[in-house]
Symmetry: C2
Subunit: 275 residues, 2 copies
DNA sequence: GCGTTTCCATACCGCCAAGGTATCGCTGCC
DNA sequence: GGCAGCGATACCTTGGCGGTATGGAAACGC
């Protein structure tokens, strides 16, 4: 199977519409139809149920969508990492924007002072995107937060565990409590994280993509949030903090793709575990 | 990058010889030369240092070899799993030949008696090959033994831990001891496992690929081995068993690729953890 | 019920690029 | 210096990829 065929298949599987998929791919619709049926013939598998009115995935088609996306990410990663290996040396670290600020700063300065360390580019991404960056080669290593992010398919080391606190706009009814329980947050406007990635509890409040955004919404009284207590260091004084007694503990981990074991990466991981 | 280009590159990188790589690929040498230099031009990266006498990988070339192999495995896995999804339903489980016999039998019968279970094909492979099978889609799930096999890139559940014993031909000087230490095995002909995969301690004895082979060599007095104690159940009576006090504990785990979460697989894993 | 629209499949054509053969050019060796 | 080994280059042929035009089936409107 060629990556071109896979890209075509994924486009059709995502759009469920040959015309739209074709224009997304920048080709005409007939060659796309042909390419797909050729792929089906070569695999000996029917990938789509199609009537002239609707296109839908078959069960094997769904398998190919899952596996094919992973394969395309792997190919993309190979290409990107090869290019990077020939250009500027250095490591790309992905982290959620606004999260892990303290530990990230400490890690960077600790690693920088090691002998033989290289440059570390930091990519601040949206919540849950670190996995994708790591998978498609845009990043070499990432800071994740269990149990929200998934370490599926990566090697990792745990860096620390912390409890969570509730962030409220100053003056909120609960802001004077010395502690609360998760059940107290049931009716509060907790943020809705993008559902595609990560495993964040669903909220009823506004949709947010990163912590900076979230903190601003809390200040404005439009949201509240349960976050790891290390976020205290970045709070403005118009946000109140209340410990949540029974929130799940959050573990910060440093994760990397299992086959990439460069010396630089090993040094960074070592520096991280020594924090 | 197309998978064809990747396959060509990997062939040349492994052979370090355009002629041999070309014949391995079933094409003539000139198109291969052209394809590689075209790949280099498109990537903007020199992948090989070549003189008319020798071909060797550059640093970025080594990166592409590592990442490219993983990518090709992922593509192959996508293809194979799609084909399998359309044919016979069922799960393919990989296990080392001759190892994990007892736990494997228990697992199969436990899962088979569950409601809604499907057929499980068992692939007995050489030591250390389970990872490769899991990675390229020939298997859906595997039994691994830590700390020898690597779970890198897989999800897994631990099934049990056991200590190790030394297997000796009957009549060997050490066979009457009630226990020994690793240091006592220093001069013994421990087997040499294929070094490509897994993390087995290097031995000085004959080269072996699976446990059946190994047991036979022990009977013949040509080797001794340190194995998990559950192997006792398969021993013939011409092999003596001595506990090794300070050998590393062996953990049997059931592992699967992180993105494949079918209901059947979940059932098998659940049955395994309940053993 | 018939025209219309919407989509995917088919037919046909042109062109690029992949593969083959022949040969060159460099290098190390007898 | 002749020769053998090996990668690069030159040149040709062709398969297949992409494009346009069109067919044909299904839903929809009036």
């Amino acid at each position: 199977m060629e990556t071109r065929e896979l890209r075509y298949f994924v486009a059709v599987a995502e759009e469920l519409h040959f015309g739209r998929a074709a224009s997304r791919l920048g080709i005409a619709q007939p060659p796309l139809s042909r390419a797909i049926s050729q792929l089906e013939r070569r695999l000996g598998v029917e990938l789509f149920h199609r009537t002239s009115r609707a296109v839908e995935l078959t069960a094997p088609g769904a398998v190919l969508l899952r596996e094919g996306r992973a394969a395309l990410d792997a190919v993309e990663a190979a290409e990107r990492r090869t290019r990077r290996a020939s250009e500027t040396p250095g490591i790309v670290l992905a982290s959620k924007a606004g999260a892990a600020g303290e530990i990230l700063a400490k890690l960077l300065s600790a690693y920088a002072s090691e002998p033989g360390s290289t440059a570390v580019d930091v990519v601040l991404c949206r919540v849950g995107e670190q996995e994708k960056l790591l998978r498609d080669g845009r990043a070499d290593v990432a800071l994740l937060h269990l149990p929200f992010d998934s370490t599926a398919g990566f090697d990792y080391e745990e860096l620390g565990t912390e409890s969570q606190v509730l962030l409220l706009p100053l003056g909120h009814a609960l802001s004077t409590r010395s502690s609360i329980r998760m059940s107290d947050t049931a009716d509060l406007p907790l943020p809705r994280w993008p559902s595609r990635m990560g495993d964040y509890p669903p909220g009823t409040g506004p949709e947010v993509h990163d912590h900076t955004q979230l903190l601003q919404l809390i200040s404005l009284g439009r949201a509240v949030a349960v976050l790891p207590e290390s976020c205290r260091s970045q709070l403005t004084d118009d946000i109140a903090v209340v410990p949540v007694l029974d929130a799940p503990l959050v573990t910060t981990v440093i994760a990397w793709p299992p086959h990439s074991r460069s010396r630089e990466l090993a040094g960074l991981v070592l520096a991280a575990t020594r924090l």
